[in-house]
Symmetry: C2
Subunit: 240 residues, 2 copies
């Protein structure tokens, strides 16, 4: 029951978009009658909503999701630094954490110019295709990098790095520099520079990044800003 309900809700995840009953039945593989009953119950709870024949995730989930402590605490501590970084660069700024072999974005702020990025708050992307992911990899246990490199390396664009040897080099460069770079590996025309955020334990608990149109990518100017913001946040997390 719970499992079926969770399955039903999670099948909204990739797009979040509106789905019809039959569509949901097809996506989940559950019988139509079952989906119908479940959806009705979930709507009564405010976990789903519908307008006409279209089901969508409901407002109660927003309430619950906003209160998830691990995420909320990090976001709240980070927000001022993300603001600083945004003001300094006026570009799209990300905050992400690791979850398995993926990066989950906790916050993303931007101005009126919206880049065509696949990153979404609450959404996940491969560690290996993003600046935030590479920064996290570079400052986590070495065995994590081994694990990730052992598996198949996903590809988001033709520029995504799928050669393990080359990726290892890139991660090692990030370790030395304290910064990770990404060029059109997640979205065409977008480059990115990221810095790790350290927790009290010393390892990277998050990373933040600035994504800019490839044409106006000036690493020398972005690097100090990203590093400053990341170090400032690290200091606060360390309990300052």
């Amino acid at each position: 029951m719970l499992e079926k309900a969770a399955f039903l809700l999670e099948c909204f995840l990739p797009t979040g978009g509106p789905f019809r009953l039959t569509e949901l039945a097809a996506r989940t593989g559950l019988p139509k009658a079952t989906v119908h009953r479940l959806a009705a119950e979930l709507m009564a709870l405010g976990w789903l909503e519908r307008s006409g024949p279209h089901y969508r995730l409901g407002g109660k989930l927003f309430e619950l999701g906003s209160r998830v402590p691990r995420r909320r605490e990090l976001r709240e501590a980070a927000l001022p630094f993300l603001q600083d970084l945004f003001e300094a660069t006026r570009e799209t700024v990300h905050l992400g954490v690791r979850e398995g072999h993926q990066v989950v974005y906790v916050e993303r702020i931007h101005g009126h110019d919206v880049l065509p990025l696949p990153s979404r708050i609450g959404g996940s992307l491969p560690l290996t295709c993003t600046g935030v992911g590479k920064a996290l990899l570079a400052f986590s246990d070495a065995e994590l990098t081994d694990e990730v490199l052992a598996g198949p390396l996903p590809r988001l664009t033709p520029h995504s790095i799928t050669d393990p040897a080359r990726l290892r080099t890139v991660v090692e460069q990030a370790q030395v520099a304290g910064l990770a770079y990404e060029e059109q590996e997640a979205a065409l025309g977008v480059s990115c520079i990221a810095a790790p955020v350290f927790g009290p334990g010393g390892g990277a608990v998050a990373a933040l990044s600035v994504a800019v149109p490839r044409a106006s990518f000036r690493p020398a100017q972005l690097a100090p800003a990203v590093r400053t913001a990341a170090l400032g946040l690290s200091r606060v997390l360390r309990g300052g």
Copy 2:
């Protein structure tokens, strides 16, 4: 089953804080054995987490909650204007919508100075005690105001307005001015100015506000900024 699970999750809502098993059983009124079984299932789904004996809301809820379309779309459209408003004022900025007789905050951004406010993203407060709430009231159906004024008026601080007649006056003033004011009605020492955001239909679908320490409240300087941001967002929502 679903209902019990939802009940269990929602009992985290006020604080979100960590709870122990016995505490959860007491809060929900469910038998300990039942809570134990439910919690185990919810953990398997990633909807709950635990560290030691402490249960917390889990990361999956964050993922799901971030994808709730009604909220996400509004947030995404509003973010650039919220940034503008923050940069113009350098004060805490809110975006809220109405849900019943409450305002639910969809976004809140601030710098390093954090005001002691009760507002939380995903959290709700009474319409009558907040700037955002009054702006929403002033530009919704008149019958909504009647309903709200008919019920008991909650109080968050000694300055909260609990006299229906006085509140009606205040709402009418907001209608004329196109702006709502709030002075220490939600938190002591904090004042606030809010403006409605209009949807394609013409009614207020949201409102945004700036909250500042009472000592540095300069309405004349904040008003144009808030109004500008709200009108800009309204224009985008109207499909520009």
